[in-house]
Symmetry: C2
Subunit: 259 residues, 2 copies
């Protein structure tokens, strides 16, 4: 039995970094070093994970896997500050691995999920997409992800980018639809909680039907008079959106006989 815990270095403690730190720690991985410029955060992380927290890149161990959980635009800059030989993995859905040319191994450790502060989730159900510049790092990252999740897959940068774009529709855009629904309900003193069962059923339905076959409503029925009536109740970009999404639904089913 291997009694030496896996050690990693963590950079970035936003939504993704803080969730991963917590789940990795719970899986027995020791986050031995954390890079942070905030003294307040440093204190908390040090207490929570027994990490050595530093604001100096030179204090990080040169040959230990470093997980970089910063936003897409900062990844390059952060990695360039690290020792050339440090094995690195970043957590972005969009940034291609070919962006990096370095001596050390470089990889991707991308959880296909939406993380919000304070909202726990079942990490074992979260797909992880793995890519690496070497077979050895790929296997190391695959094995690390498998400590957290049942759904670990290798995906190259193109596949990952396409999944990321699909994820934007799946999460960001559906969530924004809900935001507009809630905003409209609040503006009009409508009880938004009445819509919760509808939202739940919308998703449950997709266990049985494809979204293509699950569609209902005015645009699906090609009911222009209701669409116009609804649009007349909206303003600005909400109205534009209502009409464009309705048009897109109408186009999708325009060859169908049955309305």
């Amino acid at each position: 039995m291997n009694t030496t815990p896996i050690k990693i270095t963590l950079i970035g403690h936003g939504n993704v970094g803080s969730h991963l730190a917590q789940y990795l720690n719970a899986s027995g991985v020791h986050i031995s070093h954390v890079f942070s410029r905030s003294e307040n955060k440093a204190q908390k992380l040090s207490e929570r994970y027994g990490s050595l927290v530093t604001s100096n890149f030179n204090d990080l161990p040169a040959h230990q896997l470093c997980l970089v959980c910063v936003n897409d635009h900062s990844i390059h800059e952060v990695i360039s500050q690290l020792n050339e030989n440090t094995p690195v993995a970043y957590t972005s859905g969009s940034v291609p691995l070919s962006n990096f040319e370095r001596n050390g191994e470089t990889g991707v450790f991308y959880p296909l999920q939406t993380f919000s502060k304070g909202k726990q989730l079942d990490i074992s159900e979260v797909p992880f997409l793995i890519e690496a510049s070497s077979k050895a790092l790929g296997e190391q990252l695959f094995s690390l992800a498998s400590m957290l999740s049942k759904k670990v897959v290798y995906a190259n940068s193109t596949e990952r980018s396409k999944l990321h774009l699909s994820a934007v529709w799946t999460n960001n855009f559906t969530n924004h639809m809900m935001h507009i629904a809630e905003k409209y309900a609040l503006q009009n003193n409508v009880d938004f909680t009445l819509l919760k069962p509808l939202l739940n059923e919308t998703v449950r339905k997709l266990d049985y039907l494809s979204p293509l076959n699950a569609q209902t409503g005015p645009a699906r029925r090609n009911d222009d008079s209701i669409i116009q009536e609804h649009a007349s109740q909206l303003n600005g970009i909400d109205k534009e959106l209502y009409l464009l999404i309705s048009k897109s639904i109408q186009n999708t089913y325009s060859k169908d006989e049955e309305l």
Copy 2:
């Protein structure tokens, strides 16, 4: 103990009508008469519910509640064919009660839910919105809906119409986002099932956070370079939609400091 079952007449056997018939029947309501022009359907309904099925409006009982589950554009025509004194309720989210001027009582029995053929659901969780031209019919419909659901409320035509518009965003538009995600995934050989945990979490999150606070992703981070990169992978109305929804998200958070 009342041993005489409630009897109703049913017109319309599409998604809404067939689901309601089934749940009402299971709750002990006797669908004594069904109007149908299809002989095939008539036979099935007659067997399933012990209904007398007719294609002649004059065969329907004049003083028995008639549930009209037809599409919005046919409601007026159907009701005009019925005996002037027949109490009627229709199931539309949009058609105002003031559209009808008749001797008989007229009401609304609107289930705020998406029904698809062959997909069962828990009717006890479905909100029913009730409105009627008389207090007596209102109470009758409220009581009928309460046999099916724990969530029955009175709502006037304006409130119902506003909830219906919110429901379009909640269900139809979120479902269409999922359709585009799936279409894009299929076109690009991406495994769509990897996105299911993300969709589930998107909805679960809303038990804890408002959609406003749950938002993540490129538009939320105001990341124009990823938005443009994604848009370049899309065509036609999908591209238009991607850019307009992203713009709407960016507008929503444009006054925030934190990205």
